[in-house]
Point group: C2
Protein backbone atom coordinates (compact mmCIF):
# COMPACT_ATOMS: atom_id res chain seq x y z
CA UNK A 1 0.00 0.00 0.00
CA UNK A 2 1.28 3.47 -0.80
CA UNK A 3 2.39 5.86 1.93
CA UNK A 4 -0.58 7.79 3.29
CA UNK A 5 -0.07 11.24 4.81
CA UNK A 6 -0.36 11.68 8.55
CA UNK A 7 -3.32 14.03 8.18
CA UNK A 8 -5.30 11.42 6.24
CA UNK A 9 -4.38 8.70 8.73
CA UNK A 10 -5.67 10.90 11.54
CA UNK A 11 -8.99 11.34 9.77
CA UNK A 12 -9.57 7.58 9.26
CA UNK A 13 -10.74 6.92 12.83
CA UNK A 14 -12.97 9.99 12.63
CA UNK A 15 -14.67 8.63 9.52
CA UNK A 16 -15.04 5.27 11.19
CA UNK A 17 -16.54 6.90 14.29
CA UNK A 18 -19.00 8.97 12.24
CA UNK A 19 -20.15 5.94 10.28
CA UNK A 20 -20.73 3.93 13.44
CA UNK A 21 -22.72 6.88 14.75
CA UNK A 22 -24.79 6.94 11.53
CA UNK A 23 -25.45 3.22 11.82
CA UNK A 24 -26.70 3.75 15.36
CA UNK A 25 -28.98 6.50 14.06
CA UNK A 26 -30.35 4.09 11.46
CA UNK A 27 -28.93 6.01 8.48
CA UNK A 28 -28.34 3.54 5.64
CA UNK A 29 -26.90 5.64 2.83
CA UNK A 30 -24.72 8.72 2.86
CA UNK A 31 -22.70 10.94 0.51
CA UNK A 32 -19.38 12.76 0.67
CA UNK A 33 -21.39 15.95 1.14
CA UNK A 34 -23.50 14.64 4.04
CA UNK A 35 -20.52 13.01 5.73
CA UNK A 36 -18.53 16.21 5.27
CA UNK A 37 -21.25 18.31 6.86
CA UNK A 38 -21.17 16.19 9.99
CA UNK A 39 -17.40 16.44 10.20
CA UNK A 40 -16.70 19.97 9.03
CA UNK A 41 -14.95 18.78 5.85
CA UNK A 42 -15.72 19.42 2.20
CA UNK A 43 -17.06 16.68 -0.06
CA UNK A 44 -13.97 16.87 -2.25
CA UNK A 45 -11.67 16.52 0.75
CA UNK A 46 -13.47 13.31 1.67
CA UNK A 47 -13.33 11.92 -1.87
CA UNK A 48 -9.63 12.74 -1.98
CA UNK A 49 -9.04 10.94 1.30
CA UNK A 50 -10.93 7.85 0.13
CA UNK A 51 -9.05 7.85 -3.17
CA UNK A 52 -5.90 7.08 -1.21
CA UNK A 53 -7.43 3.66 -0.69
CA UNK A 54 -8.75 3.20 -4.19
CA UNK A 55 -12.01 5.02 -3.48
CA UNK A 56 -15.25 3.58 -2.17
CA UNK A 57 -18.79 3.70 -3.50
CA UNK A 58 -19.79 4.70 -6.99
CA UNK A 59 -19.53 8.25 -8.32
CA UNK A 60 -22.94 9.91 -7.97
CA UNK A 61 -24.48 7.12 -5.90
CA UNK A 62 -22.96 7.83 -2.50
CA UNK A 63 -22.07 5.15 -0.01
CA UNK A 64 -23.84 2.41 1.85
CA UNK A 65 -23.05 3.27 5.46
CA UNK A 66 -22.49 -0.31 6.63
CA UNK A 67 -20.21 -1.11 3.69
CA UNK A 68 -18.16 2.04 4.09
CA UNK A 69 -17.80 1.38 7.80
CA UNK A 70 -16.61 -2.15 7.07
CA UNK A 71 -14.09 -0.87 4.51
CA UNK A 72 -12.71 1.59 7.03
CA UNK A 73 -12.60 -1.06 9.77
CA UNK A 74 -10.54 -3.21 7.43
CA UNK A 75 -8.12 -0.39 6.70
CA UNK A 76 -7.81 0.52 10.37
CA UNK A 77 -7.44 -3.11 11.37
CA UNK A 78 -10.26 -3.13 13.88
CA UNK A 79 -13.39 -5.21 14.12
CA UNK A 80 -14.24 -8.86 13.98
CA UNK A 81 -11.53 -11.33 14.80
CA UNK A 82 -8.92 -8.67 15.47
CA UNK A 83 -7.56 -8.09 18.91
CA UNK A 84 -4.71 -5.99 20.24
CA UNK A 85 -3.10 -6.64 23.58
CA UNK A 86 -2.02 -3.75 25.72
CA UNK A 87 -0.50 -3.08 29.11
CA UNK A 88 -0.78 0.09 31.17
CA UNK A 89 2.31 1.37 32.92
CA UNK A 90 1.40 3.67 35.80
CA UNK A 91 -1.60 2.74 37.93
CA UNK A 92 -2.42 6.31 39.01
CA UNK A 93 -5.69 8.10 38.28
CA UNK A 94 -5.13 8.32 34.55
CA UNK A 95 -3.89 4.74 34.21
CA UNK A 96 -6.90 3.44 36.10
CA UNK A 97 -9.31 5.58 34.07
CA UNK A 98 -7.85 4.26 30.81
CA UNK A 99 -7.97 0.68 32.08
CA UNK A 100 -11.69 1.12 32.70
CA UNK A 101 -12.48 2.96 29.48
CA UNK A 102 -14.98 0.63 27.85
CA UNK A 103 -14.67 1.78 24.20
CA UNK A 104 -11.23 0.17 24.04
CA UNK A 105 -12.45 -3.33 24.79
CA UNK A 106 -15.43 -2.78 22.48
CA UNK A 107 -13.02 -2.13 19.60
CA UNK A 108 -10.93 -5.21 20.41
CA UNK A 109 -8.20 -3.75 22.60
CA UNK A 110 -7.58 -6.09 25.47
CA UNK A 111 -5.97 -4.98 28.73
CA UNK A 112 -3.51 -7.69 29.75
CA UNK A 113 -1.58 -6.18 32.65
CA UNK A 114 -0.94 -3.04 34.67
CA UNK A 115 2.45 -2.10 36.10
CA UNK A 116 3.51 0.32 38.80
CA UNK A 117 6.31 0.64 41.32
CA UNK A 118 4.26 2.03 44.21
CA UNK A 119 4.05 -0.85 46.74
CA UNK A 120 0.48 0.00 47.82
CA UNK A 121 -0.76 -0.34 44.26
CA UNK A 122 0.76 -3.77 43.59
CA UNK A 123 -1.93 -6.45 43.69
CA UNK A 124 -4.81 -4.03 43.18
CA UNK A 125 -7.19 -4.93 40.40
CA UNK A 126 -8.24 -2.83 37.43
CA UNK A 127 -11.08 -4.46 35.51
CA UNK A 128 -9.95 -7.83 36.78
CA UNK A 129 -6.35 -7.26 35.74
CA UNK A 130 -3.75 -7.20 38.51
CA UNK A 131 -1.26 -4.38 39.12
CA UNK A 132 2.22 -5.93 38.95
CA UNK A 133 5.61 -4.56 39.98
CA UNK A 134 7.72 -2.87 37.31
CA UNK A 135 10.40 -5.56 37.61
CA UNK A 136 8.03 -7.99 35.90
CA UNK A 137 7.33 -5.72 32.93
CA UNK A 138 9.99 -6.92 30.49
CA UNK A 139 9.24 -10.60 30.94
CA UNK A 140 5.48 -10.08 30.89
CA UNK A 141 5.55 -8.12 27.63
CA UNK A 142 7.78 -10.74 25.99
CA UNK A 143 5.77 -13.71 27.15
CA UNK A 144 2.33 -12.29 26.41
CA UNK A 145 2.97 -10.91 22.96
CA UNK A 146 1.88 -7.38 23.92
CA UNK A 147 1.28 -4.96 21.05
CA UNK A 148 0.97 -1.66 22.86
CA UNK A 149 2.20 -0.17 26.13
CA UNK A 150 0.17 2.73 27.48
CA UNK A 151 2.42 5.09 29.44
CA UNK A 152 0.76 6.99 32.27
CA UNK A 153 3.80 7.52 34.48
CA UNK A 154 5.03 10.94 35.65
CA UNK A 155 7.14 12.98 33.22
CA UNK A 156 10.36 12.29 35.12
CA UNK A 157 9.95 8.50 34.78
CA UNK A 158 8.68 8.28 31.20
CA UNK A 159 11.92 8.12 29.22
CA UNK A 160 13.35 5.49 31.54
CA UNK A 161 10.25 3.33 31.09
CA UNK A 162 10.46 3.79 27.32
CA UNK A 163 14.10 2.61 27.44
CA UNK A 164 13.00 -0.47 29.38
CA UNK A 165 10.22 -1.13 26.87
CA UNK A 166 12.74 -0.94 24.02
CA UNK A 167 14.33 -4.11 25.43
CA UNK A 168 11.09 -6.04 25.17
CA UNK A 169 10.62 -5.83 21.43
CA UNK A 170 7.29 -4.05 21.84
CA UNK A 171 6.28 -2.04 18.80
CA UNK A 172 3.77 0.53 20.02
CA UNK A 173 3.75 3.08 22.83
CA UNK A 174 0.71 5.19 23.58
CA UNK A 175 2.24 7.96 25.63
CA UNK A 176 0.32 10.13 28.10
CA UNK A 177 3.40 11.51 29.88
CA UNK A 178 4.15 15.16 29.00
CA UNK A 179 7.45 14.20 27.40
CA UNK A 180 8.68 13.79 23.82
CA UNK A 181 10.05 10.26 24.05
CA UNK A 182 13.20 9.17 22.27
CA UNK A 183 12.79 5.57 21.05
CA UNK A 184 14.39 3.24 18.52
CA UNK A 185 12.92 3.22 15.02
CA UNK A 186 11.23 -0.12 15.64
CA UNK A 187 8.84 1.53 18.11
CA UNK A 188 5.93 3.72 17.01
CA UNK A 189 4.86 6.36 19.53
CA UNK A 190 1.51 8.11 19.58
CA UNK A 191 1.15 10.73 22.29
CA UNK A 192 -1.74 12.38 24.08
CA UNK A 193 -0.36 15.55 25.63
CA UNK A 194 -3.15 16.73 27.91
CA UNK A 195 -1.62 19.98 29.10
CA UNK A 196 -0.57 20.89 25.54
CA UNK A 197 -4.14 20.42 24.40
CA UNK A 198 -5.55 22.50 27.26
CA UNK A 199 -3.03 25.28 26.58
CA UNK A 200 -3.92 25.25 22.89
CA UNK A 201 -7.54 25.75 23.87
CA UNK A 202 -6.61 28.62 26.20
CA UNK A 203 -4.54 30.27 23.49
CA UNK A 204 -7.42 30.05 21.04
CA UNK A 205 -9.84 31.46 23.63
CA UNK A 206 -7.59 34.44 24.20
CA UNK A 207 -7.18 35.01 20.47
CA UNK A 208 -10.92 34.97 20.07
CA UNK A 209 -11.40 37.54 22.84
CA UNK A 210 -8.87 39.79 21.18
CA UNK A 211 -10.86 39.65 17.97
CA UNK A 212 -14.26 40.15 19.54
CA UNK A 213 -13.11 42.68 22.14
CA UNK A 214 -14.47 40.56 24.99
CA UNK A 215 -12.63 40.44 28.28
CA UNK A 216 -9.59 38.18 27.99
CA UNK A 217 -10.02 34.97 29.90
CA UNK A 218 -7.48 34.43 32.62
CA UNK A 219 -6.10 37.93 32.73
CA UNK A 220 -7.59 40.04 35.49
CA UNK A 221 -8.68 37.22 37.76
CA UNK A 222 -7.35 36.89 41.31
CA UNK A 223 -5.16 33.82 41.49
CA UNK A 224 -6.35 31.24 43.92
CA UNK A 225 -4.16 28.34 43.08
CA UNK A 226 -4.65 24.97 44.57
CA UNK A 227 -1.49 23.01 44.31
CA UNK B 1 -1.66 39.93 16.35
CA UNK B 2 -1.66 38.22 12.97
CA UNK B 3 -3.44 34.93 12.41
CA UNK B 4 -1.17 32.06 13.36
CA UNK B 5 -1.63 28.67 11.69
CA UNK B 6 -3.09 25.81 13.69
CA UNK B 7 0.10 23.76 13.32
CA UNK B 8 2.18 26.54 14.87
CA UNK B 9 -0.32 27.02 17.69
CA UNK B 10 -0.10 23.32 18.45
CA UNK B 11 3.67 23.51 18.72
CA UNK B 12 3.66 26.43 21.20
CA UNK B 13 2.83 24.31 24.26
CA UNK B 14 5.47 21.79 23.14
CA UNK B 15 8.13 24.49 23.05
CA UNK B 16 6.99 25.74 26.43
CA UNK B 17 7.13 22.22 27.86
CA UNK B 18 10.63 21.58 26.47
CA UNK B 19 11.94 24.84 27.89
CA UNK B 20 10.54 24.06 31.32
CA UNK B 21 12.21 20.67 31.07
CA UNK B 22 15.52 22.33 30.13
CA UNK B 23 15.23 24.70 33.10
CA UNK B 24 14.73 21.71 35.37
CA UNK B 25 17.83 20.14 33.86
CA UNK B 26 19.80 23.33 34.61
CA UNK B 27 20.35 24.21 30.94
CA UNK B 28 20.70 28.00 30.67
CA UNK B 29 21.21 28.62 26.96
CA UNK B 30 19.93 26.84 23.90
CA UNK B 31 19.74 27.21 20.12
CA UNK B 32 17.19 26.45 17.43
CA UNK B 33 19.31 23.45 16.54
CA UNK B 34 19.49 22.03 20.08
CA UNK B 35 15.80 22.67 20.74
CA UNK B 36 14.96 21.09 17.39
CA UNK B 37 16.95 17.96 18.21
CA UNK B 38 14.96 17.44 21.39
CA UNK B 39 11.68 17.88 19.54
CA UNK B 40 12.34 16.24 16.19
CA UNK B 41 12.11 19.56 14.32
CA UNK B 42 14.65 21.38 12.16
CA UNK B 43 16.30 24.60 13.31
CA UNK B 44 14.75 26.53 10.45
CA UNK B 45 11.28 25.25 11.33
CA UNK B 46 11.74 26.59 14.84
CA UNK B 47 13.02 29.97 13.67
CA UNK B 48 10.07 30.20 11.31
CA UNK B 49 7.63 29.43 14.12
CA UNK B 50 9.18 32.05 16.38
CA UNK B 51 9.15 34.64 13.60
CA UNK B 52 5.36 34.51 13.76
CA UNK B 53 5.73 36.33 17.06
CA UNK B 54 8.45 38.73 15.96
CA UNK B 55 11.26 36.26 16.68
CA UNK B 56 13.15 35.76 19.93
CA UNK B 57 16.84 35.85 20.75
CA UNK B 58 19.56 37.25 18.54
CA UNK B 59 20.68 35.59 15.29
CA UNK B 60 23.77 33.50 16.02
CA UNK B 61 23.56 33.84 19.79
CA UNK B 62 20.79 31.40 20.56
CA UNK B 63 18.31 31.85 23.38
CA UNK B 64 18.40 32.23 27.10
CA UNK B 65 16.17 29.37 28.26
CA UNK B 66 14.41 31.29 31.05
CA UNK B 67 13.70 34.28 28.81
CA UNK B 68 12.37 32.16 25.97
CA UNK B 69 10.17 30.22 28.38
CA UNK B 70 8.79 33.49 29.76
CA UNK B 71 8.08 34.79 26.24
CA UNK B 72 6.19 31.61 25.38
CA UNK B 73 4.28 31.71 28.67
CA UNK B 74 3.20 35.25 27.78
CA UNK B 75 2.02 34.17 24.34
CA UNK B 76 0.20 31.14 25.71
CA UNK B 77 -1.32 33.15 28.53
CA UNK B 78 -0.08 30.92 31.32
CA UNK B 79 2.11 31.64 34.32
CA UNK B 80 2.17 34.19 37.08
CA UNK B 81 -1.04 35.98 37.89
CA UNK B 82 -3.06 34.13 35.29
CA UNK B 83 -5.75 31.71 36.23
CA UNK B 84 -8.41 29.87 34.27
CA UNK B 85 -11.50 28.45 35.86
CA UNK B 86 -12.87 25.16 34.68
CA UNK B 87 -15.64 22.73 35.47
CA UNK B 88 -15.74 19.03 34.69
CA UNK B 89 -18.97 17.55 33.37
CA UNK B 90 -19.09 13.81 33.92
CA UNK B 91 -17.70 12.46 37.20
CA UNK B 92 -16.81 9.02 35.85
CA UNK B 93 -13.31 7.54 35.78
CA UNK B 94 -11.97 9.98 33.20
CA UNK B 95 -13.58 13.04 34.81
CA UNK B 96 -12.15 12.11 38.19
CA UNK B 97 -8.70 11.44 36.74
CA UNK B 98 -8.67 14.84 35.04
CA UNK B 99 -9.88 16.55 38.22
CA UNK B 100 -6.90 15.09 40.04
CA UNK B 101 -4.33 15.73 37.32
CA UNK B 102 -1.87 18.01 39.12
CA UNK B 103 -0.18 19.66 36.10
CA UNK B 104 -3.37 21.62 35.44
CA UNK B 105 -3.38 23.41 38.80
CA UNK B 106 0.36 23.94 38.50
CA UNK B 107 -0.22 25.88 35.28
CA UNK B 108 -3.00 27.97 36.79
CA UNK B 109 -6.09 25.99 35.79
CA UNK B 110 -8.45 25.90 38.71
CA UNK B 111 -11.14 23.24 39.10
CA UNK B 112 -14.29 25.03 40.32
CA UNK B 113 -17.00 22.39 40.09
CA UNK B 114 -17.89 18.91 38.86
CA UNK B 115 -21.28 17.96 37.46
CA UNK B 116 -22.99 14.64 36.91
CA UNK B 117 -26.50 13.25 36.82
CA UNK B 118 -25.84 9.93 38.53
CA UNK B 119 -27.43 10.28 42.00
CA UNK B 120 -24.70 8.24 43.76
CA UNK B 121 -22.02 10.61 42.51
CA UNK B 122 -23.69 13.83 43.69
CA UNK B 123 -21.99 15.16 46.79
CA UNK B 124 -18.77 13.19 46.26
CA UNK B 125 -15.60 15.24 46.41
CA UNK B 126 -12.88 15.48 43.78
CA UNK B 127 -9.87 17.35 45.10
CA UNK B 128 -12.11 19.16 47.54
CA UNK B 129 -14.58 20.16 44.85
CA UNK B 130 -18.12 18.78 45.17
CA UNK B 131 -19.97 16.86 42.48
CA UNK B 132 -23.20 18.76 41.77
CA UNK B 133 -26.32 17.76 39.85
CA UNK B 134 -26.55 18.76 36.18
CA UNK B 135 -29.52 21.03 36.88
CA UNK B 136 -27.15 23.44 38.64
CA UNK B 137 -24.70 23.65 35.73
CA UNK B 138 -26.07 26.68 33.87
CA UNK B 139 -26.37 28.87 36.92
CA UNK B 140 -23.02 27.78 38.33
CA UNK B 141 -21.14 28.55 35.11
CA UNK B 142 -22.80 31.96 34.85
CA UNK B 143 -22.20 32.95 38.46
CA UNK B 144 -18.62 31.73 38.70
CA UNK B 145 -17.25 33.15 35.47
CA UNK B 146 -16.10 29.76 34.21
CA UNK B 147 -13.73 29.81 31.22
CA UNK B 148 -13.67 26.16 30.23
CA UNK B 149 -15.98 23.15 30.52
CA UNK B 150 -14.30 19.76 30.34
CA UNK B 151 -16.68 17.21 28.84
CA UNK B 152 -16.21 13.63 29.99
CA UNK B 153 -19.76 12.38 29.48
CA UNK B 154 -20.69 9.39 27.30
CA UNK B 155 -20.95 9.97 23.54
CA UNK B 156 -24.74 9.84 23.57
CA UNK B 157 -24.98 12.72 26.09
CA UNK B 158 -22.25 15.00 24.77
CA UNK B 159 -24.13 17.08 22.20
CA UNK B 160 -26.99 17.72 24.61
CA UNK B 161 -24.54 18.95 27.26
CA UNK B 162 -22.84 21.16 24.66
CA UNK B 163 -26.24 22.66 23.81
CA UNK B 164 -26.84 23.37 27.49
CA UNK B 165 -23.41 24.96 27.79
CA UNK B 166 -24.17 27.23 24.85
CA UNK B 167 -26.84 28.88 27.02
CA UNK B 168 -24.32 29.80 29.68
CA UNK B 169 -22.10 32.05 27.59
CA UNK B 170 -19.08 29.82 28.24
CA UNK B 171 -16.37 30.20 25.60
CA UNK B 172 -14.29 27.04 25.79
CA UNK B 173 -15.11 23.32 25.72
CA UNK B 174 -12.42 20.70 26.19
CA UNK B 175 -14.16 17.65 24.81
CA UNK B 176 -13.26 14.05 25.69
CA UNK B 177 -16.45 12.50 24.33
CA UNK B 178 -15.96 10.59 21.05
CA UNK B 179 -18.22 13.01 19.20
CA UNK B 180 -17.66 15.94 16.82
CA UNK B 181 -19.66 18.59 18.68
CA UNK B 182 -21.74 21.19 16.88
CA UNK B 183 -21.51 24.50 18.76
CA UNK B 184 -22.17 28.20 18.09
CA UNK B 185 -19.23 30.26 16.77
CA UNK B 186 -18.75 31.90 20.15
CA UNK B 187 -17.53 28.59 21.62
CA UNK B 188 -14.10 27.17 20.91
CA UNK B 189 -13.84 23.37 21.11
CA UNK B 190 -10.64 21.43 21.55
CA UNK B 191 -11.09 17.65 21.55
CA UNK B 192 -9.13 14.71 22.85
CA UNK B 193 -10.41 11.68 20.98
CA UNK B 194 -8.86 8.75 22.82
CA UNK B 195 -10.08 5.93 20.61
CA UNK B 196 -9.10 7.86 17.46
CA UNK B 197 -5.60 8.23 18.81
CA UNK B 198 -5.34 4.56 19.73
CA UNK B 199 -6.62 3.51 16.30
CA UNK B 200 -4.11 5.82 14.62
CA UNK B 201 -1.37 4.07 16.57
CA UNK B 202 -2.69 0.66 15.56
CA UNK B 203 -2.85 1.66 11.92
CA UNK B 204 0.74 2.89 12.01
CA UNK B 205 1.86 -0.34 13.72
CA UNK B 206 0.25 -2.42 11.00
CA UNK B 207 1.78 -0.26 8.27
CA UNK B 208 5.18 -0.72 9.84
CA UNK B 209 4.79 -4.51 9.97
CA UNK B 210 3.85 -4.51 6.32
CA UNK B 211 7.06 -2.67 5.49
CA UNK B 212 9.34 -4.74 7.68
CA UNK B 213 7.65 -8.05 6.96
CA UNK B 214 7.05 -8.72 10.66
CA UNK B 215 3.90 -10.46 11.76
CA UNK B 216 0.95 -8.06 11.66
CA UNK B 217 -0.25 -7.08 15.10
CA UNK B 218 -3.82 -7.99 15.82
CA UNK B 219 -4.35 -10.34 12.93
CA UNK B 220 -3.97 -13.99 13.86
CA UNK B 221 -4.67 -13.65 17.57
CA UNK B 222 -7.54 -15.49 19.24
CA UNK B 223 -10.14 -12.96 20.30
CA UNK B 224 -10.80 -12.95 23.98
CA UNK B 225 -12.92 -9.90 24.45
CA UNK B 226 -13.87 -8.74 27.86
CA UNK B 227 -17.29 -7.21 28.60
Amino acid sequence: MKRISGAVIRRLPRYYRQLKEMEREGIQRTSSLALGKRMGLTASQIRQDFNNFGGFGQQGFGYKVSELRAELAGILGVGEGLCYRFVIIGAGNMGRALGRYSPFSQEGYQLMGVFDNTPERIGQNIEGVPVMPMEQLVEFVRQNDIDIAVLTVPAAAAQKVADTLAQTGIRGIWNFAPVDLVVPETITVESIHLTDSLMTLTYRLRQQSEETGDAEPGAPRPVNKKS
